[in-house]
Symmetry: C2
DNA sequence: AGCTTTGTTGACTGGTCAGTCAAGAAAGTT
DNA sequence: AACTTTCTTGACTGACCAGTCAACAAAGCT
């Protein structure tokens, strides 16, 4: 997973993958079929280990703003030091979604899942009186998914931390009652 | 440019490039040096032909909301039918920014340029009384750059048109007086 | 026209690619 | 222990990769 994450689909050779996994070439082929299926498995693993935790973190606090900020800031800080930069799902969307429909459907599903989780977290926050009644939460959820993915692109692209945090905080500030 | 845009850096072979350009292999090497420099030239061409027009479109109407919506909607509609999906700059950020600092600096500069243009356009709109005084325009500009890039990722990832437009419209709605 | 410079062509290089194969080791079964 | 099945290994394949080379054509200049 890490190898595909760091180097992309085309950039990761089978030799890179056997070296990184410590698993022989033929074993990989017997276990996964071919490179594309191995890539999908890596993507699924990323989703499970890095994306779903983010989604679940949204229910960790009554206030979406606190929950989301706490979940996203470490990513922007790069403080998860030994993980590659940027988001594997974003890279997959950019590099492979056009050519591989299995990648596309996983990416679409992941983004939709995040949007739903954001909406529900926002609704819970509203129920707790933490969010203004005037805000269109469905719209806010769509906006916030796009903002998060955009932040991940800009993060990979070298945009400074302050700008990214400002973007996030502005999205969060919308909710203020 | 179109070949790199469609297939990415690693995905576009020199044979693809000579075929697409109609220019011989050696001519490309004499003119550009190597594949990396050719990629940079393609990126510069994209910036000039597709990104700067978007930036300039922001001064095409006193109301940022109208200007931005008119500029972005065609991209989301894919009505620019013969252009590849997604944004070349986003793909470059995801695939190459980590490995090629020249790509990174171009991407960073492009995003920063869009942010500045958004800020100035929003300020002009405010001067015309079209934007609420309470909105933090700097924050809004940062948010909107991230949102646009996120939309481009999600567009490539197969997210439906309606969700993307909703995200954009929510960012625009923030400005309402 | 004769000569220099510039551009073009297609064959070629060493290296790497994804994927396969066959031989051997390990583990499970009776 | 004998045998079958599963897993692992490293050598191998044809294809393709970025980049080079030398022969050739076109154009510019005197």
């Amino acid at each position: 997973m890490r190898t595909f994450w760091e180097r992309g689909y085309e950039g990761a050779s089978l030799s890179d993958l056997t070296e990184a996994t410590g698993v022989g070439r033929q074993s990989l082929y017997l276990a996964f079929g071919d490179k594309q299926k191995l890539y999908l498995a890596a993507l699924d693993r990323y989703r499970e280990h890095f994306f779903l935790p983010l989604v679940e973190a949204l229910s960790g606090n009554v206030d979406v703003r606190v929950a989301l900020r706490e979940a996203i800031l470490p990513l922007v800080d790069g403080s998860c030091a030994d993980d590659p930069r940027g988001c594997f799902l974003v890279a997959a969307a950019a590099e492979r979604a056009g050519e591989d429909s299995a990648v596309r459907s996983r990416v679409t599903a992941a983004f939709a899942g995040l949007e739903t989780a954001l909406l529900e977290a926002a609704q819970r926050s509203r129920a707790a009186g933490l969010v203004a009644d005037t805000v269109d939460l469905t719209g806010w959820a769509a906006l916030t998914v796009a903002t998060i993915q955009g932040m991940r692109v800009m993060e990979a692209g070298g945009t400074d931390r302050a700008t990214l945090i400002r973007a996030l905080d502005t999205a969060l500030a919308m909710l203020h009652p």
